[in-house]
């Protein structure tokens, strides 16, 4: 056996066509970004654009992680998360502003409400076997009404968090704040450290794989990967350094995204999500508790919705009746554009992040070139459709 390993070439051949296909969305994202940079005479490339990309889309990344887990189990979705954001915002406003609870207690309470809803929803879907889209449609219909009725304590139907700076700082503050246009040194240092970490990880992984005789990519591919990864991090942090510093919401997004990237790729429970979506019967007969997985998917979604609600309320410094509108669709779109299978069992957090960013860039770009808001919707619709068609066609050719 050892002889075989030595004789075998362990370098995975670089196949340009499959490489292109695998990273198509990333390439499209870069092209779209360049396109809008040209169209806006460089406005897209300005530090403020980077800051608004992150601030505007933070909720998509967070909800996208939850939606990804739901979709992995077999293309199941959660329609209620947008309305639930509205309801949770209203509850948070009630507790923090009207009743004057402390920020910590209020946040824990909001999280608890999310957990309670998640348990109920998960139980309905996993054990009572209510089809997910119907079970969550109920929440979609009910929660905004409930939230609005709570908000009606204020005559403007909106509760302001202006006087809750500690809460606002947690979710929409800026770390190491400096005036705009000035290089923020700590921000840059964080960026450099993160970039180095990425490069280090790629090469450490390569070395261990080589040592154990496993297949590795060509050295060129790994260099491209590290350069690209480091470049993106450095670029974003560099721009943010000129936009005043690191927005705290970026830390939340990074924590959530990294956590779910780890769960989906490295843990047994993450694996179970994939196999349940790939073949639920095979999963069941292999000893996977398929009902538990379905339960966790929706409990998890509700918890992430709670976190998302906190960031959204904080960003707008108010709980509104309109908060969270169409969030469920944004999260689903991010997943679908990011290559998450609509029938389950395939997709990754990284894909979802690319999908969300692509949609975010298109949104911002269209806004910056002053495209009519109605046409913006048309474009978004077609982007979604094109992504799915592209996905289906590229899979067909593999067979």
């Amino acid at each position: 056996m050892e002889g075989k390993v030595i004789n075998q070439s362990n370098i995975r051949k670089a196949d340009p066509v499959s490489m292109l296909k695998k990273n198509a969305m990333l390439i499209i994202l870069i092209l779209v970004f360049i396109f809008f940079t040209i169209m806006t005479n460089g406005r897209m490339f300005k530090p403020t654009s980077f800051a608004s990309l992150i601030n505007q889309n933070a909720y998509v990344y967070i909800l996208g992680c939850g939606m990804l887990m739901c979709m992995l189990t077999g293309g199941n979705i959660d329609l209620s998360c947008g309305a639930f954001v509205c309801l949770l915002g209203a509850i948070g406003g009630m507790m923090m502003v009207i009743w004057g609870w402390s920020t910590g207690v209020s946040l824990v309470a909001m999280l608890l409400v999310g957990i309670i809803y998640g348990c109920g929803l998960g139980a309905l879907i996993a054990y009572v076997r209510v089809p997910p889209w119907i079970a969550t449609l109920a929440g979609y219909l009910a929660f905004r009404g409930l939230g609005t009725s709570i908000l009606s304590v204020s005559i403007t139907n909106s509760i302001s968090f202006k006087d809750k700076p500690d809460f606002l700082n947690i979710f929409s503050g800026v770390l190491f704040k400096t005036p705009e246009g000035q290089l923020n040194v700590p921000c840059m240092i964080v960026g450099i450290v993160a970039a180095l970490l990425v490069v280090l990880l790629i090469f450490k992984n390569r070395l261990t794989r080589l040592k154990k005789g496993y297949e590795v990519d060509t050295i060129g591919m790994d260099i491209v990967k590290s350069v690209l990864g480091a470049a993106v991090i450095l670029l974003v942090m560099f721009k943010l350094a000129y936009a005043g510093g690191i927005p705290t919401v970026l830390l939340w997004v990074a924590a959530v995204v990294l956590f779910y990237a780890f769960i989906t790729s490295k843990t047994t429970i993450g694996r179970h999500f994939y196999v349940v979506g790939g073949n639920i019967e095979a999963a069941r007969l292999s000893g996977v508790n398929t009902k538990k997985i379905m339960f966790i998917a929706y409990l998890n979604m509700a918890i992430l919705t709670a976190i998302s609600a906190m960031t959204v309320v904080s960003r707008y410094t108010a709980a509104n009746a309109d908060a969270g509108k169409n969030f469920e669709m944004d999260a689903i779109s991010a997943c679908v554009v990011g290559g998450v299978s609509a029938s389950g069992g395939a997709g990754s957090v990284l894909g979802m992040v690319i999908g969300a960013t692509l949609i975010g860039v298109i949104n911002l770009g269209m806004f910056q070139i002053n495209l009519d808001a109605n046409y913006q919707r048309v474009v978004k619709g077609f982007v979604l459709l094109a992504a799915v068609v592209f996905d289906i066609l590229s899979k067909k050719k593999q067979r």
């Binding site: 843990t267 073949n279 019967e281």
Partner: protein
């Protein structure tokens, strides 16, 4: 001699890696009932699928001559236009719809824009009468029994103006009485000039109803037996054609295996159907397996073998399971949980590897580790290196042919998929392995390799239960054989004492007794 209505000439059909039909010639006379018999996987259904256009023209070689013309069917509609109608083994009725709606599904009465319900129901009633059903065609299908549903299928075929009716295992889900009624109906249709092809495992029925019997084996027509005479052809005669193959070297010798103590024992095991709890699928079965022993369970499809195995495996099938289970002599109360079964070191290797065995969209690696992820992870974090090493180890051990263990299982051949399925369960380190049709749908070479793996398992002291509907395989691989029919164990034989004929005889006898 009567006119030849259908002739299939030199039909060859290959699936990736398997030659399902090899130069098959098949003739049906007008106005006769022609039976097609053979073991599972012999190629009967494939042949009928070629005939009815499910496998369209161009995907097979050879000619179909129907009513004197060479035909090229591109889909079922083409063949139905000429009056060739196939009734599949699984009933294809929509339970929520009425009988009439079902009968004209895809063939609706009326003009293009609107369905003429009056015509639909009055015509439907006419055909229902022809098959001897008194139900109104406005009754929902879910409200009539399976026997009557089968008759509805036939009425549906008649409504399509069938000239050549193909019935694939029409009685497999029927009881004795309904079966007999159906067969008599076929004889009645014959008098009226209809030509029919019947595929059946139930040889007594075949002998009763057929004029001509064609035996298919390993994708080839072996012989055609004439049954026109007043004396019915004997079932033994048909069996001989079905199973009479060379047995040399198809099965590797098992050497150096010592058979140890009883590992698994079940007594008075009864399992009820999950949807029709009054139906017993497994009826008062008692069996045991010793360490290092390969026990064969032989039975025809629908005998309850899969259901038995799955009910043992953490009650993954059935309701109201009663009976006693002992592992290593100790009574075991197993929860209704597959994970619990795995904990008790039982593995169930499914007969349906694509349907509920493998995750085709995932890699060999992921599938191999699936049933025993704990072994390659600590605190639920998967050790990717360990997982890779395990997959490589089993790829080597089972000779899975693939460039890399990252390959998607869906891209493998049937034989290699079966090996991945076995790898998954071997990695789960069971003591008791329930193998359900371990060689279904794979070619002879791969079969031999699977047999070698089974021998290795026995040599390693595992208790192996092998369910199979291939007689030679059961005889060649087992130490001991249980024979199952209609949910019951109807016989037990030592492999040395068993022959193909004696096993078939036990089954036939039990069928007659019922």
């Amino acid at each position: 001699m009567a006119k030849i209505l259908l002739e299939m000439r030199n039909i060859t059909k290959t699936f990736p890696g398997v030659k399902a039909l090899d130069n098959v010639n098949f003739k049906v006379e007008e106005g006769e009932i022609h039976a097609l018999v053979g073991e599972n996987g012999a190629g009967k259904s494939t042949l009928m699928n070629v005939l009815s256009g499910i496998y369209p023209y161009g995907t097979y070689e050879g000619d179909i001559v129907y009513d004197g013309n060479v035909c090229q069917f591109h889909n079922i509609k083409d063949s139905e236009k000429l009056g060739i109608v196939i009734i599949h083994q699984e009933l294809a009725l929509v339970p929520e719809m009425t009988i009439g709606e079902n009968m004209y599904l895809g063939n609706e009465r009326g003009h293009k824009l609107a369905i003429d319900w009056n015509t639909t129901y009055s015509e439907a009633d006419k055909y229902l009468k022809m098959v001897g059903l008194s139900e109104s065609s406005k009754v929902q299908v879910k409200n009539i029994g399976t026997g009557k549903q089968q008759l509805v299928e036939i009425a549906k075929a008649l409504a399509k103006k069938a000239r050549l009716l193909i019935l694939d295992e029409p009685t497999s889900s029927l009881n004795e009485e309904d079966s007999r009624a159906l067969l008599d109906l076929m004889l009645e249709f014959k008098k009226q000039g209809m030509t029919m092809i019947i595929i059946s495992h139930k040889l007594n029925e075949v002998a009763y109803v057929a004029d001509t019997i064609t035996v298919v084996r390993d994708g080839a027509t072996i012989e055609t037996i004439d049954n026109h005479g007043t004396e019915q052809v004997s079932e033994e005669r048909i069996i001989k054609g079905m199973v009479g193959r060379e047995m040399t070297n198809r099965f590797p010798k098992r050497e150096g295996v010592t058979i140890g103590d009883v590992q698994l024992e079940i007594n008075n095991w009864t399992v009820h159907h999950p949807l029709y709890p009054e139906r017993k699928v497994v009826d008062d079965v008692s069996m045991y397996v010793r360490k290092g022993e390969v026990v064969g369970i032989y039975g025809l499809m629908g005998a309850g073998r899969t259901e038995l195995a799955m009910s043992i495996f953490g009650q993954s099938y059935g309701t109201n399971i009663s009976g006693e289970m002992k592992i290593d002599g100790k009574p075991v109360k197993m929860k209704k949980s597959e994970a619990d079964a795995i904990k008790h070191k039982i593995a169930y290797v499914t007969e349906d590897r694509k349907g509920n065995g493998l995750v085709l969209s995932q890699s060999i690696k992921v599938n191999t580790s699936l049933a025993h992820l704990d072994a390659i992870s600590s605190h639920t974090v998967i050790d990717g290196d360990k997982e890779y090493a395990v997959a490589e180890e089993y790829r080597d051990k089972l000779k899975i042919k693939t460039p890399t263990v990252e390959q998607l299982v869906g891209n493998l051949s049937g034989g290699n998929q079966q090996k991945v399925l076995l790898a998954k369960w071997m990695f789960a380190e069971p003591d008791i392995m329930l193998l359900d049709e371990p060689t279904r749908g794979i070619d002879v070479g791969a079969k031999y390799e699977i047999y070698c793996i089974i021998n290795d398992l026995a040599a390693a002291g595992k208790s192996v239960v092998m369910i199979s509907s291939e007689l030679p395989e059961v005889l060649g691989m087992s130490d001991r054989i249980y024979i199952m029919n209609e949910g019951k164990f109807v016989g037990e034989m030592k492999a040395e004492e068993a022959t193909q004929e004696s096993i078939m005889a036990v089954i036939l006898q039990s069928g007659r007794g019922a």
